[in-house]
Every structure is written in structure tokens, then in C-alpha cells.
Subunit: 232 residues, 2 copies
DNA sequence: GCATATTTGTCCGTATGTATA
DNA sequence: CTATACATACGGACAAATATG
């Protein structure tokens, strides 16, 4: 092959290894930066700055922006650029409307046992580990994983993807309101454990009631805190 | 821009005036071509051929492809290109799993009357008009509009968009299986009228039962017919 | 309000890798 | 295995919009 070193080789190599496009991988990087809070809601993402930082062309970066815009993590303003999404209070309300409807229906529509609760169990275990270590933001992630696992019980790819997106949006809210992540996330761990127990006991009615109460409380708490921070 | 006349004029003619980007308008064209069956499932969409035909650049066209891929109307295979989506029988099953969960939950979670049933009423009226005129494919559209209106009762933007996408996918199925659109669509008109009546009477339990039976029957019918046509 | 610099929108040409006949 | 067609990604160009002084 070629003997000399060319910067493009690096790009092509990664493409070969990952079996995914450069834009996909750039989107992955930006997605995790947003999820971790390094790019808070409202941040402007400069094509030039990010393109240079990641060593990719503008066209490729714009493709990645499009992917994340479709996931509602970025917003695109014509001739102004892309920004990390800033949710409104109405968005928060809508997210919880979706969660209540789908998560509750997911447990209600469960067939006869046994269900595969391994994902949900793993999420609770993940949360307990995070709590022991005092990793409160990771506890928040674990709680999200638990509720994603509840939706996964429907075994529907489309509902799974919808919930993945909705929960990713929810992280944006968390990054704005949780100055004290422990106080916010810790109480919900025990409630998730309780919901899991009800599911294990095949008590769907109880599980749904617990779930509905959980989501109502979380929504109230979030909406109250969020409206203090955001002008909408 | 350029002073000379270019093929893009056709695009502006077809689309609503005031649309912002070229890619949006290109996506509109392709979306209607797919919905009307001119681009059947499995068709390959060449960047070069379509870009030349519409007089737009590849980058712009790729943006349109992204939009439609996100809507699940196209599939993107790495280094192979984009194709009109070919749904599997499992997709049909999943679509009905989603419909049952969300539509039933939508009527179950309705608050106290009055609800705004004007959209649902309009959809039934649209169906009756289509039936009188013998426009059976339009009756199919009207039936879809009715069920979209049911989901709209949740007043959730996210659920509304999810259902819009799911019902667009369902059209792909219809184009494959409905060689006799009258036989397929006509019986469901009366059932939608019945569901609407139950909703008007604020009988949520009855409405949910009728809805569940409707969806079960439609799924069975479609899955049977579809599996005869598709190798999956 | 105006002029300038920066950023984005759109498009082209080309090099390279990948899939398929 | 070779040849062809196509997709990926880059870099550059210029117009248009925005931001800045």
C-alpha cells in the first residue's frame, strides 16, 4: 500500500474498524458530551471550532448535526447555527405525559409470567452500586435505565426507540435543575426497587400504581424546579 | 442565485410556499412519491440519478434522505445507498403492538368530558364521503386519520409524531397487500363510527374494547395477507 | 445606520474505499 | 481477479445572513 503517512488514513481506518460512518461516530461523541453535561443546553456548536477539534470536514460535521437534530438533542436555527436543545416547561410536561402513558401501559399489558426482568434488575443493581459509591449522577442514569427496561418489556422496537429519545431529552432537563443530584435522585432508587418487587410478584396492578405515583411526583418536582430556571 | 431557469422550480411549485430549506421540499416530493406507490418498497434511490433529476446537489439530497430515513420510509445501508423501506412481517406486528398500546391508553387516560372530538368526527365524515364516492383508497386514508385523531386526544406532541410515523409506515404495508381496497377498508368505517359514538357517550371502557378488537382484527388480516407477499 | 468580519448555506471537484457484475 | 459503478469524505469556493465594531 502507501508508504507515506496521510491524515486521511486515520479516518478511513476508524471507519473500517467501526463499520459505521464518520458522521455516526462524531454524533456518538457529541451525544455523550451532551449527556454528560459538558455541552449544556443553549450552547452554540460552531462548525469551525468542532470540525477543527475533531479533525473532520464541515460537510461531515453537518451530517452529524443533522442526526442529533433529528434526535431532538440539537436545534437548528437558519443561518445562525446549531445549539444544544433548551427544553421548555411544556416539553417537560409532555415528556411525563408520554412516560406515564407508555410505562403504565407497558406493565398493564404484560402477559402471563415469567417476564424477562433481568434488565430491570440490572438497572436497580446499578443504582444501588452508584448510591454506595456516592456517584449520584450515575444513580440518575441508573434510574433512567430502569424505566427504559420497563418499556423494553413491551418487546417493541418502536416503543423502545421512542423511550430512548424521550429519556435522552430528560437528561437535558436534569442537567439544568439538579444542582444537588443526591437529593434529587436518591429517593427514587427505593421506589424503583419497590416497583421491581411488584413486577417479580406479578402484581401488575400494584406496579402500575407505584409507577404512576413515581412519575407524578417526579414531574411535579421537575416542573417546579425547572420553571424557576427557564424563562418560557 | 442563478438567473436561468432550473428544474428546482418544479419543487417550489409542488411544495407549500414559505418552506425554509431545499431539503425539506425534496423530502416532501419523495415522501409523496413513496406514499403514492411510485417508488415501491425495495427501490434503490441513487444520489446521482435523483440529484440530477431534481437539479440539486448531492449534499442537499443527502439531507432529504436523512429526513426520510429518520421517518423510517427509507433505509440506509453503509456504502450501498438508500432504499425505500421494505417492512417485514415483524414490523407489521410491532406497528400493531404500538397502536394497541397507545390508542387504547389514549382513550383510557381521557379525563372528564368534554373532549375535543372534532378531528375524529371529521375523519369519520371524510371516510363516509369517500365510501359514497367509491374512493376506497381514500377511505383507507380516512380510517388512518381517525386513529391519528384518537391519539391526538392525548394532546402530546411526541405521541402525535410517533403515531404519524407509524401510520406512514402502515401505508407502505397497505400498498403491498390491498389489491382489493374496498374489501379491506370498508368494514372498518362502521367500526370507527361505533368507536366515535362510544367516545361521544363518554363510555371509555366500551371505546377501548372496540378499539382493541378493531386493532386485533386488522392485524390478523394484514399479517396473513402480508406474509403471503413478502419473504422474511 | 453603516461597514466589516465572521459564520453559515449551498454546491462542486476529487481522492479513496466498497460492493457488485 | 478485474473492471465498473457508487458511496464516503475532504477541501475549496462563493453567496447570503448574521454578528460586531
Amino acid at each position: 500500500m502507501t508508504a507515506e503517512v496521510d491524515p486521511a488514513v486515520l479516518v478511513t481506518d476508524r471507519a473500517l474498524l467501526g463499520r459505521s460512518s464518520t458522521a455516526d461516530r462524531v454524533a456518538d461523541i457529541l451525544r455523550s458530551r451532551i449527556a454528560e453535561g459538558y455541552l449544556p443546553p443553549g450552547s452554540k456548536l460552531s462548525e469551525d471550532a468542532i470540525g477543527n477539534a475533531l479533525g473532520i470536514s464541515r460537510n461531515t460535521l453537518r451530517e452529524a448535526f443533522r442526526l442529533l437534530t433529528h434526535e431532538r438533542l440539537l436545534v437548528h436555527e437558519l443561518n445562525r447555527g446549531v445549539f444544544v436543545r433548551m427544553l421548555t416547561v411544556q416539553d417537560v410536561t409532555d415528556i411525563y405525559r408520554v412516560r406515564k402513558l407508555i410505562e403504565c401501559a407497558a406493565v398493564r399489558n404484560l402477559g402471563v409470567p415469567p417476564y424477562d426482568l433481568s434488565q430491570a434488575e440490572a438497572a436497580v443493581a446499578e443504582g444501588e452500586k452508584a448510591a454506595e459509591e456516592g456517584a449520584w449522577r450515575e444513580l440518575g442514569s441508573a434510574n433512567i435505565h430502569f424505566h427504559h427496561a420497563v418499556v423494553a418489556l413491551t418487546q417493541s422496537r418502536r416503543l423502545d426507540e421512542l423511550m430512548r429519545g424521550v429519556l435522552a431529552e430528560l437528561r437535558l432537563v436534569f442537567h439544568v435543575v439538579t444542582d444537588n443530584p443526591r437529593a434529587f435522585h436518591e429517593p427514587y432508587l427505593a421506589r424503583n426497587r419497590e416497583i421491581l418487587a411488584a413486577l417479580k410478584a406479578a402484581d401488575r396492578v400494584k406496579a402500575e400504581l407505584l409507577l404512576a405515583a413515581y412519575l407524578d411526583d417526579a414531574e411535579k418536582q421537575l416542573v417546579q424546579k425547572y420553571s424557576e430556571r427557564v424563562a418560557s
